[in-house]
Symmetry: C2
Subunit: 342 residues, 2 copies
DNA sequence: GGAGACATTGTTAGCGCTAACATTCCCCCC
DNA sequence: GGGGGGAATGTTAGCGCTAACAATGTCTCC
């Protein structure tokens, strides 16, 4: 009746302790109807007493469901992906799923493929890929081997269900805000070329300018890091090509931009207005506090899991449905923008 | 010989295709010696042709090893934990392990316990806990149910193997740096009271001051967020209690502090010197660029997995060994510090 | 040429669980 | 009072894999 010698208790031990068959224990564990309340209580007491834990491998073997979702995350050291991961994790856990995470140092197709391979060996039931690069999304459905895949922050990939923030809308809001303040046009420090988010932000910037009949210059492409924002703005200053307003594709590059402007003796917002993107927690405390576009990363993660679970439940073989959910962006106005000098 | 109808191929299908027994297939898969090269080639060809993948649940059921490591992470949205997670993930994957991650919104004992429970249901082989709070570490070994646990960034927990950055040493370096510049003493904006890292940084700060015979004031306790740095420094300014040098326990609060100083018309570094902690990527581009203490989070993650794998290999039942590894911190000098005004 | 050693392969028996079917028991109603 | 029906439980047969042992074949050396 006590704990068995040495080894962990198994279902049969519980059954013996409770004086029932192992199948009845299984029924209690899985919440089947047609178990007498008194029997159930006895089984639960035995489980508790022995400290029994069901063996997940044995269950997975027979049910053919591991309850594990694979997550491929590009660079969780950045604010956005890290928050998205948190959203995904909470939603998955709330639904009773486990999360197996692979992080990539570099968003190459090869690394993504290898990551998905790794996850496949663990028999994940589906994938969530935080993969904001075009090149990464292309081979995706094929690598998943028929399991459902949801891309998160993946722009408008056609073959895949996708959840993303309305990057283009957010960029439009930012640029409109600057135009409304009276700026003749707005320069753009963009993210890297291959990134879908960067592309959408460029499109929003361009769209808002064209809509207003404002001149559209060439965007400058950075790499998301503060250093590139710094260097690109420095080059603008040196070429004497600084516009009165700058839309920078993320807050990190915006910090670099602010720094370059400060070093050049350019005042923000008196001489140049700056808008960022992301609304990192520090943004309110930069010098000056940064006007930016906030994204609800947690919501993005939650919806990604929502779509994936729907796909798993419906037994949809792959990306047939191609759901696409767009989470709105939100403008956060702070002190880094003003009317242009006369 | 072709793929079996409908279902995924299993080992027996491969065996049939290759004209061997399923056991020989198993031997090839597990790299056993004593398989003829020609046989191995035939098996591999069959595996490839059928697109066979071993079933991880079946293997785990018989080997009693899932190959999964559970990670409990507190707030991966912060820079440090996110980077540490990346380090852990890479090290684990390189060793052939899978990572199951749970993130907590709040570092309460209850949440940690629940997280470890969740992971236990998945039969993880061991745990890595990124848990920098004292309260969280106390019940840990018990919750792990005999599986090995390694605490990462967990200060000097006694009952647990631990990997951490030399917080105290880092803090000492920061304070010494300021004293060497000629400051009579150094004020401290600390992290939350319950956090071990915060405690160690306070200890380092206090130690360096006492060593130099400098007066030791009361540290002010923030919550790691920019806002608290801002408000605490504002309160110092209002009480006219601003020292000539400030050691702020993390870069985020330091940004808030810089902002408060700027608003009060206090120049950095001319009037007040500031040192942060973490060396976030933006630190070099703050106004002014922030002198800070860098931590090698990736290395911390790697060593955490290293210890855990040793524990798993040695079959050590629990935290008997109580290894403790300390990763040195590194001072990064930028423009936010200078000699005090006469 | 035969004994022994060793390399190579096959056979069998579970790992701990759930699904499917079988059995028992009890109650109700004609 | 017997038969039908459903609730409650038990029995059996795998899920796909590896470990242990058994059975070959092959080589060496005296």
């Amino acid at each position: 009746m006590a704990a068995p010698p040495g080894r962990m208790p198994v279902m049969a031990d519980v059954a013996r302790a409770a004086g029932v068959s192992h199948q009845t224990v299984s029924r209690v564990l899985n919440g089947h109807p047609n178990v007498r309340a008194e029997t159930q209580a006895r089984v639960l007491a035995a489980i508790d007493e022995l400290g029994y834990r069901p063996n997940s491998s044995a269950r997975a073997l027979v049910t053919r469901r591991t309850g594990v979702i694979g997550v491929v995350a590009v660079d969780t050291a950045h604010y956005g992906p890290a928050r998205t991961l948190t959203g995904i994790e909470h939603a998955a856990r709330a639904a009773g799923y486990y999360l197996s995470v692979v992080t990539l140092t570099e968003a190459s197709a090869g690394q993504v493929r290898e990551a998905m391979d790794h996850l496949a060996r663990q028999s994940v039931e589906g994938y969530v890929v935080i993969a904001p690069q075009r090149s990464v999304l292309e081979g995706m459905p094929e690598w998943a081997g028929g399991s459902p895949v949801v891309a998160v922050e993946g722009g408008e990939a056609r073959e895949l269900p996708v959840v993303c923030v309305d990057q283009e809308g957010g960029a439009r809001m930012a640029v409109r805000h600057l135009l409304e303040l009276g700026h003749r046009t707005v320069g753009h420090i963009a993210g890297p070329r291959d990134w879908l988010e960067a592309e959408s932000r460029v499109a929003g910037w361009r769209g808002a300018l064209e809509e207003a009949g404002a001149p559209v210059g060439e965007p400058l492409f950075g790499d998301w890091r503060p250093r590139s924002g710094y260097e690109l703005v420095r080059s603008l200053v040196e070429r004497d090509a600084l516009p009165t307003a700058l839309f920078v594709a993320n807050d990190q590059m915006a910090v670099g931009a602010l720094r370059a402007l400060a070093e050049a003796g350019v005042r923000v917002p008196e001489d140049v207005s700056v808008v960022g993107f992301d609304d990192v927690p520090e943004a309110a405390y930069y010098s000056p506090p940064l006007t930016t576009v906030a994204q609800d990363f947690t919501e993005v993660g939650r919806r990604g899991i929502g779509i994936l679970l729907d796909l798993l439940d419906s037994g949809e073989p792959a990306a047939e449905s191609a759901a696409r959910e767009v989470v709105p962006a939100r403008m956060v106005v702070r002190a880094s923008c003003g009317a242009p000098a006369r």
